[in-house]
Amino acid sequence: MPDTPVLELEHVTVQFGGVVAVDSLNLTIQSGEIVALIGPNGAGKTTAFNAITGVYKPTNGCIRFKGDILEENYPQGKMRKLYRGHDNGHYHERLERTPDEICRLGIARTFQNIRLFKQLTVFENVLIAYHSHIQASIFASTFRLNHREERQMRDGAMALLDLVGLADLAQEKADNLPYGKQRHLEIARALATKPELLLLDEPAAGMNPQETDELTNFIYDMKDQFKLTIFMIEHHMNLVMDISDRIYVVDFGKRIADGRPEEIQSNPAVISAYLGVQA
């Protein structure tokens, strides 16, 4: 069924106390797409990512993954009075998933401020991600009754490092890698969880143009190799315009535009949001 979207957000609202960080956000991502989420600082992009990956619970709305409900919520308890978002009253179910469950369902992510397992080696960083799909119980794993599975995990991790070009640094502490390599490692680690949808939170932050170019190619390569759908937050407009099939623009938690890169470039609402002029 090609027309079932990989990810759908319906009226997703995230509210902290009285502050609405994401307001009734709707978006759809089709299989195989690269979609970018852009917007000024504090527009609620990372909050949206955190809602998708289960770090925050949506206050209202529904998130679907491959057509199945991933999370759904409606304002309850104290929120019933406090709620300031839109589209209240559409939802009456509550379904929550923890970030690890969501990861195992096939959504992996990277972080805006790199979050590697710093004191562990590059190899271990990737190997740990394979743990999410482990079959053996802790008993079997302790007494190495799963040596075949263990070997598969190790081989897989090594192959993956080879693929991303970090094989020769496998035994290095993650903390000792140069910045650019750390970004690559974080993506490799996310790939090791065997995702269908990969969320990248500012993958090119802090990179120079040459590194950004390398990253662009890298993302393309990975997308092809692993048949990924990619949803990314990014500020480097060159990268965004280069790579994305479609772009969503948010400001103050609301979607203000969406469309192909060239459409977005000329959208007056987007320009005013970035320049801070009232449209």
Binding site: F16, G17, T46, N50, V55, Y56
Partner: protein
């Protein structure tokens, strides 16, 4: 239980609760600012007991009390400078281990210097005056403790609400790094916080030990843990919360002992802690905080 027995138990409980309240303020202030359970606070309280023994040996009580408060404040501030300040950027676990280490050190030092034998706590004559209220007999300290506690709490709240220092303190507890950027002298605020906490612990110690009459190097441990629980119960960071928590723990403990469950008196305190953390992690009067990812 007859009515007068009940009243007698209530008095004992409220008086104990008052002393607990004063100690738990020290925990709540420090935790509010440094996010640190100052395990050493219990032993600062214990040391204040010893200070009083020595001060009263050479001075009348009117002079001894200020000396004790001053010495305790110095001890508290020095501990912060030596054991916590160098670790300000270290992982939380290291700071907590440091706090446990200081507590361990103070206990062992007290054992070494003053022996593990209980030392008699000096009598402060006016506090020990026995009063007869109908069929209830009690000493003055039992009545003074809660009154003094409430007065001090009101005073402290005025200080925190309305003074410049109080504003700095609140700012630091809301956001440590930002307030540093805003030009607040963090180290000074932290030192003052420890000073206030220690001073209250010293007053609490005078009231507590006057009622109990003996000090050992381990007299602080259990009251200390209970007072931390009291601070959590009331809502960490909240001064009136710490006071309410202190009273609740003190009264509960007294009645448990009175009913013959003295074995459980410590355990029930911790049960309170676990229940409150599950049901209402912010405590009775605490504010909700969201963590940033």
């Amino acid at each position: 239980m007859s009515f007068s027995t009940f009243i007698q138990h209530c008095l004992t409980g409220i008086s104990l609760g008052g002393a607990y309240a004063l100690i738990s303020i020290g925990y709540t202030l420090v935790y509010g600012i440094l996010l640190l359970i100052n395990f050493a606070h219990a032993d600062i309280f214990m040391m204040a007991g010893y200070f009083m023994i020595f001060a009263m040996a050479s001075f009348p009580w009117q002079v001894a009390i200020p000396i004790v408060i001053l010495a305790t404040v110095v001890l508290g501030v020095v501990i912060e400078r030596v054991a916590y300040k160098p670790l300000r950027n270290a992982p939380r676990m290291s700071v907590m281990i440091s706090a446990i280490g200081v507590s361990y050190l103070l206990q062992n030092l007290a054992t070494y210097l003053f022996s593990a034998l209980p030392q008699g706590y000096p009598t402060i004559p006016p506090l020990k005056k026995v009063i007869q209220l109908g069929s209830v007999t009690t000493s003055l300290v039992t009545l003074i403790t809660p009154v003094l506690t409430i007065l001090l709490v009101i005073l402290l709240m005025l200080l925190v609400r309305h003074s410049k220092f109080g504003m700095a303190m609140r700012a630091v507890s809301k956001d440590f790094e930002t307030s540093q950027l805003m030009g607040i002298k963090i180290n000074r605020v932290v030192s003052y916080t420890f000073a206030i906490g220690s001073a209250l612990a010293a007053i609490g110690s005078i009231l507590y030990f006057t009622d109990r009459m003996s000090v050992t190097p381990f007299s602080g441990t259990m009251p200390g843990l209970k007072c931390f629980v009291a601070a959590v119960l009331g809502g960490i960071g909240s001064i009136p919360g710490a006071m309410i928590g202190g009273f609740i723990i003190g009264i509960t403990e007294t009645f448990l002992v009175a009913l013959g469950y003295s074995t459980y008196s410590d355990a029930v305190t911790f049960l309170f802690l676990i229940i409150i953390l599950i049901v209402r992690p912010t405590g009775l009067l605490g504010e909700e905080l969201t963590e940033k990812v």
